[in-house]
Amino acid sequence: MENLVYIALFAPFVGSLFAALFGMTERKIFVGIVNSSLLAIAFLSAVTLAAHVYTTGEAIHVTMMDWINAGDLNIPFGFVVDQISVTMMVVVTTVSTVVHIYAIGYMDHDKSFNRFFSYLSAFVFSMMILVMSDNFAGLFIGWEGVGVCSWLLIGFWYHKPDQSREENPSVSPSWAANEAFIMNRIADLGMLIGIFILYWNTGSLQYDVVFAALPNLEDSVLVAAAIALFIGAMGKSAQFPLHTWLTDAMEGPTPVSALIHAATMVTAGVFLVIRANPLYSLEAVAGVSYFIASLGTFVAFYAASMALVERDLKRIIAYSTLSQLGYMFAAAGLGAYWIALFHLAAHAFFKALLFLGGGNVMHAMHDELDLFKMGELRKKMKGTWIYMTLASVALAGLPPLAGFWSKDAIIETAFNEHTYFLWFMLVITAGMTAFYSFRQVFLTFYGEDRHTPLGFHPHEMYKFVLIAMSPLAVLATITGWFMGEYKAFITHLLPHYEMSEHTHHLATWLGLIVIFFAVSGIVFAYLKYARTGTKAWKRDESKEQSFVYKLLKNQYYVPKFYEEFITKPYKIISEVFWQQIDIKIVDATVDGIAKTLYKTGDATRSMQTGNLSNYLNWMAIGGVILLVIAVISAMLV
């Protein structure tokens, strides 16, 4: 069993190192194959471990080695495989394996093929450390690792030059990568403070020790730790106001978006809140938890609103990720941790499928992502059409697909907790979700053929890629049916969240309300976008000038706000510090010391006359001085 843990953890790492050997050479297909195979091995180990945990109900604790042992601080490199971590492990390895195989096909024209696989496998390794670690320090190592790999992967095409904001809201891949990393860094400060607070008050960073000691701490300490840790989660999971990096991260290749910014890295924040549920479910922290739920709901609505008018295919899917993350935080904030985790898993599958399908479209359209230039692609890309429609139905939350069960559970939770305003917003957002996701599907695959006049000749992706995507499609369909078994499995560890009797009575009605909103969204989108002939959709320039449209299109002007009030002043401050302080003061001081030494040496060189008599003079002077000092010190003492 222990070996399986190590295999699951280190197989991606070995793959990363292997691919790194070929980083500078041209595309070698066996690199992709070897890496995907290693990830498949990790996947199998994860599944075996999951079966073990499921059947025996015990967690597996593995301590690899003592890492830090300084005084009272004892942090080992330890890993725990319990119900939470094994869920994440299975999700991460499944999606990673599919994405690796997909990338063999997607990146086939890219000359940095080998480097890509190295980074991708390194990312999976970091993510595995994050979810498998049994202490906060290991979590933080994985946290930082995924941040670095995300930066490497977003900025994969770093040689693309910067463009102006009007041409490209994300400026360039390197700019987007920097934005992602810096925003995450700001949030990591909060996380570090949270970790420090926990260590300071409990004396350890191991999960079990910390959580056992929590009830004995003061309220203010608990609230501070909860807020600080959540700030860290906000950065990784792109909650408002640290959300702008997620849409800009679409500058990276599509497999990266599918793996990192849909299924795994952005869910790390939710994972943290779920892992720390003993903290967030305490009475004293109830205010913070409610704030988390409210913020999640707000973000869900906010992101969905911006997706309504977006033209870029991947950005729509990015907004939907943001929105669904809001749903997960809403569930976690309201105390339904297992529902949040379940939605995390289901969402990972259908969102990854959606992204990969979008990648197929992008590959077919030669990197063109503008929805207005597509249309009626279903005739030429049948497989992708089926996959994306399936994933969009799951996203919209229609039964019997996975999205319905998990999303409905979250909305029911909001009702159950008597937070009716949150419930209402979540229901509205569900309708908006259905609308914009099907808007995207219809604009891409239905309607009039807009792409042929523009000179595009799309063709379907390689067969093996489509086959590789099929497990995700299957999982997106069936995951919801096992919600009961999953609940029994996960509530060994997570709190048992049950709906009240009152909610149970109304469950059917509540479900029908959600389905109604979702279906009406789809129908509305169909009527507007999917028809051909005289009722076909035409671009309406005048509507695009309206205030609401512009507000949504420019992301509520939040990026512009950041640029004007944070980036530019910071740049000015940096310049001042550089010119005035660094050059004039620090450098001058160091140079001054050197100059002083040099001048002193020059001056004392006159002592070297070569004349023995002079030297004897100096000796005598020195001797007399020492004598005088000796006498004076003897007299003073």
Partner: protein, 100 residues
């Protein structure tokens, strides 16, 4: 009565005289003479302390100082001879080759 201080003062005076000689003299041979004066002054001090503390250590030290002075003179004069052959003069000011 003659105490230890008397001898030490005499030794100090002779040492200073030697020091003045070392500092003043330009001729290398005369410099050696002044060095000998200093060594002898130190010997007096050693012998005096040995006498007044009933300790033989002082005399042993003085003994070895004499031995060392002897070998120093031998080697030093040899070097002086070679120096004189090379430069033709024994004046310090003419021998300032190692100017920095």
């Amino acid at each position: 009565m003659i105490g230890l201080s008397h001898y030490l003062i005499v030794s100090a005076l002779i040492f200073s005289i030697g020091l003045i000689g070392v500092l003043r003299r330009r001729n290398l041979l005369m410099l050696f003479f002044a060095t000998e004066v200093m060594l002898n002054a130190v010997n007096i001090a050693f012998a005096a302390i040995s006498h007044y503390y009933n300790d033989l250590t002082g005399q042993m030290f003085a003994f070895f100082v004499i031995a060392i002075a002897a070998s120093e003179v031998a080697v030093g004069l040899g070097i002086l001879i070679v120096l004189y052959k090379k430069y033709g003069s024994l004046d310090l000011d003419d021998l300032a080759n190692m100017r920095g």
